[in-house]
Symmetry: C2
Subunit: 256 residues, 2 copies
């Protein structure tokens, strides 16, 4: 069976792309067949895996607007068992063009039916907004993994995001669960970080992953080499923390 996990948070810069790339790559290293879908017009998951965004002629846009089959858009990556559906700036038009499409909120869900059997995990990197691209993803997903930076504004927005997920569950996708809340860019020397971790553990103890992603230079350097951190520097704290996260998610899934 295939599990579809959305990486979403409307707050910008919290580590959605860094998590999408490195969590997927870590699952692939653990011998799971994984498909990463970039549904952000910025195309950071696409370039972060070494693909030239300007040379992607068929992207997520075509799946949503031109009924292109996902199998015709899928690319192999440098990581064994990890495939990618790329995106680029063309996707920016999709939000407006989807408005007039019948069942516009379920276009992605319908499209993924044809490829689910080939993968054990499908991970989707969302843009920093709650528009039709993110709604389509939430409707197609089994669960949502929520990266939260250890900062004030990121914590403040968490309640609103959980509220939106509840609304999606009530009106579109009754099976949508929260896979977990992932604390990112944790800096042990920083007081505010400790306060945010304490607050989130108090309010959301059930959902928070025990794996915490530290602020780690290898994670911000790796994308400039087009590689996930497990290929760039597997000994780094960044790589180890995402391998740990993949293990934690796989263990939770095996218990379900």
């Amino acid at each position: 069976s295939c599990k579809i996990i959305a990486i979403a948070n409307q707050k910008g810069g919290v580590g959605k792309t860094t998590t999408a790339i490195n969590f997927s790559a870590s699952l692939a290293v653990a011998e799971k067949r994984v498909l990463l879908i970039d549904i952000d017009p910025q195309g950071n998951s696409t370039s972060g895996l070494g693909f030239d965004k300007d040379k992607q002629f068929i992207t997520t846009y075509d799946i949503l607007i031109n009924q292109t089959r996902p199998a015709d858009v899928i690319q192999k990556t440098e990581v064994n068992r990890l495939d990618l559906i790329p995106s680029n700036i063309n996707l920016i038009g999709a939000e407006l063009e989807l408005i007039d499409v019948k069942d516009r909120e379920f276009v992605l869900k319908r499209a993924l039916e044809s490829v689910k059997a080939n993968y054990e995990y499908i991970v989707v990197d969302c843009p920093p907004s709650l528009g039709l691209l993110t709604i389509n993803t939430l409707n197609a997903s089994d669960s949502v993994l929520i990266p939260v930076q250890c900062e004030y504004y990121a914590m403040e927005g968490l309640g609103q995001l959980l509220n939106t997920i509840k609304l999606v569950r009530q009106s579109f996708n009754p099976n949508l669960k929260v896979e977990g809340i992932l604390l990112t860019m944790f800096d042990s020397r920083n007081n505010l970080c400790h306060q945010v971790v304490k607050e989130i553990n108090e309010h959301f103890s059930k959902e928070v992953f025990s794996s915490i992603i530290p602020r780690n230079i290898a994670l911000s350097e790796a994308p400039s080499f087009g590689k996930p951190v497990v290929l760039y520097n597997i000994a780094s704290k960044g790589a180890q923390s995402y391998l740990q996260l993949a293990k934690e998610v796989m263990e939770r899934c095996s218990r379900e």
Copy 2:
């Protein structure tokens, strides 16, 4: 006369809100009359200045959708000469509702005509996207101040953003200029930061501000106290760097 400056970048988490709040407050400290407009549904500029987002009953939403006069929405802040037009999650509906409005790209521009005379600067904090809220802002603005984090993905997105600004200039707002590119979260111990600064100085030397904002704990702590950093800790490097930026922008404006 009044200068309207958009703080915009579709990349998330680059310091748009931190810049909008602290640049505005620094201009006010320099005795300029300033209006800060929060046009992001996240409402971070609103809460970062100490306002409870859930208690804002008239917001930017009402100006865009209900033709409310800006004067009826403006709130005084703790900083002398700095006023705010607040926002909250209600604004999320505006992007869809604006679609059917006549001249939907110019609603904000028309609305601001009635208050421009009361301010020397109007600063607008944009969401991390290039949708109708950001387009409305770019059409209402004289210039765009672009915060760029010293990171790979933020640098990668800069070319796309400058392209979008050029398109807006050609089709909607011929006067739109780039106020400048502001390097943020600079960490002198981090090699990648130095590389990004070098690259941006090479490709965009005309646009880059000489003021650089360092990564500084006071900047991330101040919003949890609802204060701009000049009120939270004026001696901090964060406060000093935004006072320096305000000075640099005012000097550029006086030469125009």
